[in-house]
């Protein structure tokens, strides 16, 4: 799992990697002359939930399927909304509190579509894409990391 978030060539940027998320590049990728509305969602690992402290989370994935599902969701979104550009990047491994674990971005001609598609994508990613968070695995990897997973 040493792959990084390679720059995209087409209109979608989809990725899964252990590197910190390239947030500024993701935002820049969405901006352009044909999209009037750009909605960017960033999910961050919260340190505090009430009085309970979370130092960080570990994210595990069935990586080949997760990428395939992310591609499928992106294609679905593009049939439902007029998507100009799309970003869907998820981080794996240890993510410290305060760091971003996921970024979802949509560029559409109008803002209502950008908001709706972005919301749909993050909601659907959470239920459909085989990625799991685990607080107890943070900084305690006991299973072998498979180099062929991506």
């Amino acid at each position: 799992m040493t792959s990084s978030f390679h720059k995209p060539s087409g209109s979608s940027w989809i990725g899964l990697a252990e590197d910190p998320l390239p947030l500024a590049e993701a935002h820049q990728f969405l901006l352009g002359e044909s999209a009037g509305g750009v909605c960017l969602f960033t999910g961050v690992v919260r340190r505090w939930t009430g009085d309970v402290e979370t130092p960080g989370l570990n994210y595990e994935a069935y990586a080949t399927m997760a990428v395939a599902e992310m591609e499928r969701l992106a294609a679905d979104a593009s049939t439902r909304w007029p998507v100009v550009r799309l970003v869907l990047l998820h981080r794996l491994g240890n993510v410290d509190a305060g760091e971003a674990s996921v970024v979802v971005g949509l560029a559409c001609p109008h803002r209502a579509d950008a908001f709706e598609a972005c919301r749909w994508l993050i909601d659907t990613l959470k239920t459909e894409v085989p990625i799991w968070k685990d607080e107890t695995e943070y900084n305690r990897i006991t299973f072998p990391i498979e180099p062929t997973m991506l």
């Binding site: 399927m65 395939a68 998820h90 674990s101 993050i122 990613l125 959470k126 085989p130 968070k133 299973f143």
Partner: protein, 91 residues
């Protein structure tokens, strides 16, 4: 017909476990022999009978074959990769 053939010739499939199932069963992958004509649901029955942890999570498990979600009645082929997907929690 299938059931008769199944008892004669087996297929080999690879089972993938993640998250709570990997922790509970203690392995992340298993090579399993199954009868020809075995469905994804049939394999899950077999696994649940052999592993109490899989039995315990059974009602929450969705099945994927070769990296796509499938229904329980899909028939497995030799060399298929079957993943047991517990509720996801990405994001």
């Amino acid at each position: 017909m299938m059931a008769v053939a199944a008892s004669k010739i087996g297929i080999r499939v690879n089972v993938r476990l993640f998250s709570v199932l990997r922790e509970a069963v203690g392995v992340s992958t298993m090579d399993i022999e199954a009868p020809v004509g075995c469905t994804a649901g049939g394999l899950l029955d077999q696994l649940a009978a052999a592993h109490p942890a899989i039995h315990r999570f059974r009602s929450h498990i969705r099945l994927a074959v070769n990296a796509s979600y499938v229904s329980v009645d899909v028939v497995l082929g030799d060399g298929d990769e079957i993943a047991l997907i517990t509720p996801t929690s990405g994001g």
